[in-house]
Amino acid sequence: MTGEAIPELRASTPEQFGIWVARHIRAMGLLAERLTSDAERDDVVQEALARAWAKRAQFDPARGTPAAWLLAITADQARRMRTRRRPLIGMLPARVRSMDDELELETAIRRLSGRQRLAVDCYYFVGLSVAETAAVMGCSEGTVKSTLNDARLRLRGLLEVR
């Protein structure tokens, strides 16, 4: 069963809702992990599912796909999780590593602005299309493209400096 097979999402049971979101759960998990951490992934996804469930009557297929709606909620929950997270003071030093290109790239990505990093995470790492990334970021596809371009420029500079 897919989202299209449930005519009234607002009248669905939790089980039907689970079937509806199942095809998007991997992308939600990837996005949650990308925006928070592996340890917090399931918490963020579960929060997002609870919120989506509570707001399911507000989902309007005319305004976007289920994937975009669920991923936008996931991104918002990840943001809330980061806000709630307490810094570990004086205890856990930040990782500074440059063991290989991948780690160097990751380190550079962490230095991007929030919007640029979100665009890079959604498009390259979660594997969303430009349209889906735009839905998650709440902006137009053109803005996503220009944000990705800005991010690449900044990354190029950061990686050259190293």
Partner: protein, 363 residues
């Protein structure tokens, strides 16, 4: 194709391939109730659950008090070895630390940060650990379970040169985010005939009095907001725990200009007072710190719960005086955010862990 675009595409694909399986959607939707939604145990439910576990342990198992710090020499198979201090550490109260509690053979219970990096913990003398329902529970010297595996905790202490964190025995270990059971639904709210009588509900607390007044000479410094994670106690009972927010510094608040070398008085004029001492079983500290605005503006979301330790942050000399804090202000000219970390008390009610912010310009 742009080489960087290609590198990002390949890095993304490689990252996706290396991820663990996606979340278990069936397990997650099992928490969704047709009418209401509650994902995580709240404090009351968690306390009830821990109480139920304790009751079960007391009924079926050996008493919690008097257990050793490890299974060696003990017949109790549920005991878990725990690294403990021989005496109060000299590193006591250097800083606040914490993280998610995880089992670790070198420490018994260690903490891990959000990136999975483990820090070994040496617990105060008298602390013990035992395995209950597949989970390791940390028990304080009085036999009270204070936290469990996968809880996110906070404690005072300091790290030694090897990186091991030594927990201060004078401050309690606070659970800032309780473990959310992945498989066990919260216990039913309806009491059974055999269940112990539930305790009467706590009364509603008075309205939070807002931030205290800061005065420099005859001038009042406008409060810019409150933050941090705070708890509310009614006597020794937790009414609510670890409400956090807003998570961003009021860097744009209106500043009050003060003269270099000024001292400030922070406190309330009404019923509320800044509190000091042991309240609700927790040792309450007060501190006043300041940091140049310029050093804070680069901190991102989630990094603005409290002024970061060290660096450009100043620990201002403070003195406590009958519900007020007296503190010197920064001596060097500049634009500062001042943080007052204090407990607030009104009658039997205490708010702990609150942080109040004031923006000043020292001329």
């Amino acid at each position: 194709m742009d080489p960087l675009d290609q590198q990002l595409t390949e890095a993304g694909a490689s990252w996706r391939r290396s991820r663990r399986p996606p979340p278990d959607v069936d397990r997650m939707v099992a928490y969704l109730h047709p009418q209401s939604v509650r994902r995580r145990w709240n404090v009351g439910v968690a306390v009830a659950a821990v109480s139920a576990i304790l009751l079960l342990a007391v009924t079926l198992g050996p008493p919690l008090t008097g257990i050793g710090s490890g299974p060696a020499g003990s017949d109790d198979p549920s005991l878990v070895w725990l690294l403990t201090e021989e005496r109060p550490s000299a590193l006591c109260r250097e800083a606040l630390g914490g993280g998610r509690l995880v089992a670790d053979p070198r420490s018994g219970l260690a903490v891990t940060d959000t990136e999975g990096e483990v820090t070994l913990v040496s617990w105060p003398l008298g602390y013990t650990a035992r395995r209950e329902v597949g989970r390791i529970i940390l028990v304080d010297p009085t036999g009270r379970p204070v936290a469990g595996e996968d809880d996110t905790v906070r404690f005072a202490g300091g790290a030694d040169s090897a990186g091991t964190w030594h927990v201060c025995p004078w401050d309690s270990v606070a659970v800032t985010e309780p473990w959310a059971s992945p498989a066990t639904p919260p216990p039913a709210a309806t009491p059974t005939a055999d269940a112990p009588a539930s305790e009467p509900p706590l009364p509603e607390p008075p309205p939070f009095p807002g931030w205290p007044t800061m005065r420099v000479g005859e001038f009042a410094v406008a409060g810019a907001g409150a933050g941090g994670c705070w708890s509310v106690y009614y006597g020794d009972d937790v009414w609510t725990s670890d409400q956090c927010g807003p998570g961003s510094f009021p860097l744009d608040a209106a500043a009050t200009i003060i003269a270099a070398g000024s001292d400030a008085v922070v406190g309330y004029d009404g019923d509320a007072r800044l509190a000091w001492g042991t309240i609700g079983g927790r040792r309450i500290e007060l501190s006043v710190r300041a940091a140049p605005i310029s050093s804070l503006s680069a901190l991102g979301e989630g990094e603005q719960d409290e002024l970061p330790a060290g660096g450009a942050t100043l620990d201002l000399v403070t003195r406590f005086d009958d519900g007020f804090v007296l503190a010197n202000m920064p001596r060097d000219p500049g634009d500062y955010l001042v943080e007052v970390f204090a407990a607030v008390q009104i009658g039997d009610w205490t708010w702990t862990g609150t942080r109040f912010y004031y923006r000043i310009v020292v001329e």
